[in-house]
């Protein structure tokens, strides 16, 4: 096949491209320039975007021996990922920009362009398995598994995707990179949001949305217990950084329970008030089989690297409803609910949707 390898400049995508070559594909490497101003982006950040990352990707492509180009996706990335990220926070939700980037950039804008140019598929260095059965599964390296941020992909997108790393651990990928003479073998992993240079999400949002002082309110009493400089900067389940004026009557820690953009209010309460047993979500995608007509027994994951809980999932039009077997804390609107079916060959992604409440 003619395949396009998206190369971030990191070790994973370099080894993925090399493996695609080894598997006999005709591979072309592409680095996505996502930053309008490359200097402001984090080096080594996932999928991005500094000049150094671009050079690392090009060097890897040269070592692998494949053509290499840079595609300018900065405008699309800004509209579909960065602006969306800000708008979601402003609306009191907690977005996952990596997921959004997969949905709108890597497996949409890039894939579309690749297909139009005659490529059959896009190869990435995501840690997830996608075999001949077309099912998306967790990586063998559970700690590095990225199936959660890929679960948003549709059948059409998955059919044109290749994830050559799913059967390997991160350690194996690094060893192989060194054996292949790829200089990125020791490049540190990235964990933060690539377009927030200093890792200060709150500062980034304040810069984009401005300061908006408001009240922090106790859920049970309705009393104002503190103030904030912008409700958008909070996430459901958050405990740190609340700066409450008064301790709770029972002396126990309080957590963010909800954010109300309309009144610019952050509501706090005890940990148990965070517990959620039912999750509603929108825009469902179902790739683990035919779209179910009856409730499905499965497991759900409610945030990246979050715990997995048994649940019953029901689809109704544009809505997904999950009944959790045991309550979960810190479920934030804007995150994805991903349904998995446990499987000895790697848990299978059944579907996903965006949590609304």
């Amino acid at each position: 096949m003619r395949v396009l390898a998206a190369m971030s400049g990191g070790v994973d995508s370099a080894v993925a491209a090399a493996r695609a070559v080894a598997a006999g594909h005709d591979v072309t490497g592409v680095h996505l320039a996502l930053a309008r101003n490359p200097q402001t982006y984090r080096t080594g950040a996932r999928g991005c975007c500094t000049l150094e990352d671009s050079r690392d990707a090009r060097r890897a492509a040269d070592v692998i021996g494949i053509p290499f180009y840079v595609w300018d996706m900065a405008d699309r990335f800004h509209e579909d990922v960065v602006d969306d990220f800000v708008a979601e926070y402003a609306a009191g939700r907690t977005p996952n920009p990596c997921l959004r980037c997969n949905e709108k950039i890597k497996f949409a804008a890039v894939l579309d362009r690749a297909v139009a140019l005659g490529f059959d598929a896009v190869v990435t260095g995501h840690h997830a398995r996608l075999g001949p059965d077309g099912l998306l599964r967790r990586s063998v390296d559970v700690a590095k598994d990225q199936s959660y941020v890929l679960a948003v992909l549709t059948r059409e997108q998955l059919d044109r995707s290749m994830f050559p790393l799913g059967d390997s651990t991160k350690a194996q990928v690094r060893t192989e990179a060194a054996e292949r003479g790829l200089a990125v073998a020791d490049k540190p992993d990235s964990h933060d949001i690539c377009f927030i240079a200093d890792g200060d999400t709150r500062g980034f949002l304040a810069g984009r949305l401005g300061e908006a002082p408001g009240d922090v309110v106790d859920a049970s009493t309705g009393a104002v217990v503190g103030s904030h400089t912008g409700a958008y900067a909070y996430t459901v389940g958050q405990r740190r950084g609340l700066h409450l004026d008064r301790p709770a009557p029972d002396g126990r820690p309080r957590y963010v329970l909800s954010i109300t953009p309309k009144t610019n209010t952050v509501t706090v309460g005890p940990a148990e008030a965070l517990e959620v047993s039912q999750v509603r979500a929108t825009r469902p995608v179902w790739t683990g089989g035919p779209r179910p007509v009856a409730p499905v027994e499965c497991e759900v994951q409610l945030r990246a690297h979050g715990d997995v809980v048994p649940a019953t999932v029901d689809l109704d039009g544009d809505t997904l409803h999950a009944e959790l077997r045991r309550p979960v804390r810190g479920v934030a609107a804007g995150q994805a609910v991903v349904a998995y079916r446990p499987d000895p060959a790697g848990d299978i992604v059944l579907g996903s949707a965006t949590i609304t409440g």
Binding site: A33, S54, R58, Y69, D72, K104, R113, L117
Partner: protein
Amino acid sequence: MAYLDHAATTPMLDEALEAYVATAREVGNASSLHAAGRRARRRVEESRERVAAVLGARPSEVIFTGGGTESDNLAVKGIFWARRGAGPDRRRVISSAVEHHAVLDSVDWLIEHERAEIGWLPVDSAGRLDPETLRAELTAYADRVALVTAMWANNEVGTVQPVAELAAVAAEHGVPFHTDAIQAVGQVPVDFAASGAAALTVTGHKLGGPIGVGALLLGRDVAAVPLLHGGGQERDVRSGTLDTAGIVAFAVAVETAVKGQQEYAARVAALRDDLIERVRRAVPEVVYNGDPTDRLPGNAHFSFPGCEGDALLLLLDAQGIACSTGSACSAGVAQPSHVLLAMGADDDRARSSLRFTLGHTSTQADVDALVAALPAAVERARRAAAPRTPR
């Protein structure tokens, strides 16, 4: 492979390569006083005389440099500093909107760091400068101009400028005129003395010499403040141990290219004209950019409406055809060409352009390969650029 990117760099001539290797085997610093040094110096000075002889310069006017970018920087900054040193009011640089970045960015640097003023000369839709606009600029700013710099021939669209007329206008006002002749030497007749220029940039690797060696022809009475300080090897204007092997090979290449220019130009222009005609037939909506007659013999430059140049380049590259979008890169990201924008093209036309440049190794087979691959590539690139329905 069909290599149609000779304006980026062209293969070394056999005679230049042989001269390089033979000289590189010899030890000797041309500044040393012993026999080995004298031998190296003799090679350098013979090379200087060869370059001077074929380019209409005196040997003492040839300053060897590390290539075209250095020569352009030395000319623009060095002459600016020298002229301003002699008259503090002379802070204005007159340049054209279609210069190579080696000149553009040098001028920008002077604006930013040396409080230079700039007068940009516009070009017409073919990329051509009008000497009258230069005359108007010089008349308006009479005593405040440090230098004029305008290229001999454009690296992207191949348009050849009326250099002698421009130099004559500058001379009327007693202002030194520098010309970047990197793309011109060996392609069109270039004579330094006859051109009336005060300084002229030439580089090796565009005419069959090695990469990393070039020269600035600098008139004997033209002062330039050095960029590089050290041993003062080149007329105290340029320091650095002389690259004997590179200079020898450069001189061989310049001499060969200039002496063979007429024959070369006729052969390559015939191939190029065939390329243009067949590209037009294969892709009727193509837009041919640049001056149709006053043009480098190896240059063909097109816009392909509805396509992105970088998509076309990828597709042609996959078919073994090497060409260029001809535009500047930052982090490898294609920017719309400043040359086409200056010629009045809109953003889309600028982004849809490709440059094909032929050279001394080009054959009919190269043209045939391009013409065979182009229609399918254009078709695909057009589909890739078409707006899609949002998901």
